[in-house]
Symmetry: C2
Subunit: 426 residues, 2 copies
Amino acid sequence: MSLLVQKFGGSSVADVAAITRVARRVVDTHRAGHEVAVVVSAMGDTTDELLDLAAAVNPGPPPEREMDMLLTAGERISMALLAMAIEHHGVRARSFTGEQAGMRTDRSHGRARLLDVTPDRVRRTLDEGAVAIVAGFQGVSEDEDVTTLGRGGSDTTAVALAAALHADVCEIYTDVDGIFTADPRIVPAASRITRLTVEETLEMAAQGAKILHLRAVEYARRYDVPIHVRSSFSDAEGTWILVGRPLTSHLEDDMEDPLISGIAHEMSLGKITVVGLPDIPGTAAAVISAVGAVGVSIDMIVQNVSTSREGTSDISFTLPVEDGQRAVAAVQAMQHQIGFVDTHYSSQIGKLSLVGAGLRSNPTVAGRLFAALAEAGVNILMISTSEIRISVITDQDRLAEAVRVVHTAFHLDAETPAVVHGGTGR
Amino acid sequence: MSLLVQKFGGSSVADVAAITRVARRVVDTHRAGHEVAVVVSAMGDTTDELLDLAAAVNPGPPPEREMDMLLTAGERISMALLAMAIEHHGVRARSFTGEQAGMRTDRSHGRARLLDVTPDRVRRTLDEGAVAIVAGFQGVSEDEDVTTLGRGGSDTTAVALAAALHADVCEIYTDVDGIFTADPRIVPAASRITRLTVEETLEMAAQGAKILHLRAVEYARRYDVPIHVRSSFSDAEGTWILVGRPLTSHLEDDMEDPLISGIAHEMSLGKITVVGLPDIPGTAAAVISAVGAVGVSIDMIVQNVSTSREGTSDISFTLPVEDGQRAVAAVQAMQHQIGFVDTHYSSQIGKLSLVGAGLRSNPTVAGRLFAALAEAGVNILMISTSEIRISVITDQDRLAEAVRVVHTAFHLDAETPAVVHGGTGR
């Protein structure tokens, strides 16, 4: 007998049919002799509908405490319905709010951090042979106020619950069969990754692969929680994310290849180039600070001696495309003070990231990557690396092809194409 | 400075416009220097929508604990939105669940009784100069489970909160200007009642006047809470329901009239007559027990010597029309055992009740009532009385006219017709 935490996102409980399907899976797991604690998000569009109502009654940013009170109604509905659907199959089920499940957080409404997880009632429910259902995304503060954990919070709830219950595995259900070597919508030959380390998962997630929320993966690393990302539409094995095991890859049998896990990509990036910066210490920092001051996070930065003007340098950086105009305005406002010549902005930038074990120490990887891109005529605009990642910036309209040729060059192509089931994921 | 509890039902917070209107009223009351605690129901159709979802995932009677978890999402949404709308007007507001407001109940899910009300957080919120908003209808059990108080529960929450806070008044907002001498949809000349005793209110409510839930009025009597039933569409005075004051009426100046408060009526009643019951002790009880055994509540009972068959008696009783067929079947199943001759059933029965102070002791009242009905040609089928009520059963198709002629006969007609605003009330 194992103890499993199963997490189902909003699209997995979007309507009555979906809830019924999830209930059947939970019941099957329970009947197979396992203890099951379920974490569930709000149904499909519930959160968006509640946000619309909030904006209608209070167009200013509404009070955060009340926003949390409002949004947590969503999981209350989905978890109660799921409990009813499970009971309809003859298995006892009890739903618990974040507070009832012992999810204690700080007071930061809308982005609360977990301080303590004491799922005593969940434990007792499992001991009684029933299924426990816990509201994802929510907790209770020291002030006994309802809090939410922010984007991806249900993943964090699931991993934290699994850690506190010493679960054998935290299963994250999604609409694909796990994590793939590349996005199957771009690379039809993408194959499912059998195992990933937490570090690789973090790099994949940070580089744009829509897998798991970063916080949940970090939590899994800290508390050594094995995660199994799998499809809610099938019983197939998904991708295991494991902590504290030696770095391995799904291609471990092929000794000639580097241990590439997969390719992440990000389509919607912008790039700002500040041209002709005076070659004085602190000018680059002044540019970057100006962008940070308007709340924009910079991704990659490259500084070069200017090709156009002697004694000056150019600095380029990438950022989320939706922040582009704001950042450009912030930089331009500093032109007189900093003394640069001009700014260029492109909203047509993409990023490809190769993630895997020991990439930096393997000299052949970068070479093979650049050769593949060159052969396909894809221009590399910027490069950055970490111990287990190499990222390149390309023109957006060449990115999909770049992902495909690199996927092939590293022998990641599967013999049979990946199958993607309905929905948009999460 | 007074402390007011203001209760708004589902139709008062049915949509964004309605919530905005309620927010403005609360803000105005607060700005006038009063402390305001608000009790709010779920928005309009929310409860029905949630019930539909529950029936879809679990067609059997769904587990009551989970049903309470589900339904309490409704007030969570309305109260958070109302808090946001109030904050938008620059007044601080905090919403509280039943649990946070200290509404402790027994474990009877779906029909919980209040055991203890300790609104410490509400009190602190008022002390800080903010508006407190409390979810109606809900509480928390000794097991820390979410409970609901059943039909009319939000009225009970409001009165209980007013009692615990020693509020000066509990205002119950509805879509008419208070309680009327008769239903204005039937009697256009109905006039608003200025004051009612709790006892009169209980009789009016029990006899079909849709005013306040009985439990709330009983709670008000026990804890001496003054209630003000008034319109959410105007600032006009409504009807005050007062405890422990001498019985008075809105017509107290007119010494020649009995102290009639108003006329309640109930359109949809059924009447079962069991004909030719053997004149043996216990046969009437056997009939009534058979009906009770299938969960049907009987309203009025009359037993007579049978006009058709010597040595036997007839028994007639009224009941909610939706229970009619079930009750008839239960009685007929006993025919052999009890030995009566036949049953007659009519679903076309109505009830008119005259409520007021000391009716039984005033011999002119019954006479004037019967004379008015006789003059209008309305046949009286059954009669029952209490200290402050006389009820008559008539044919349903004559009931509206009966209410009008009695209203006129007791000089209750107003000079200007009552105005009824939109909605279906609560």
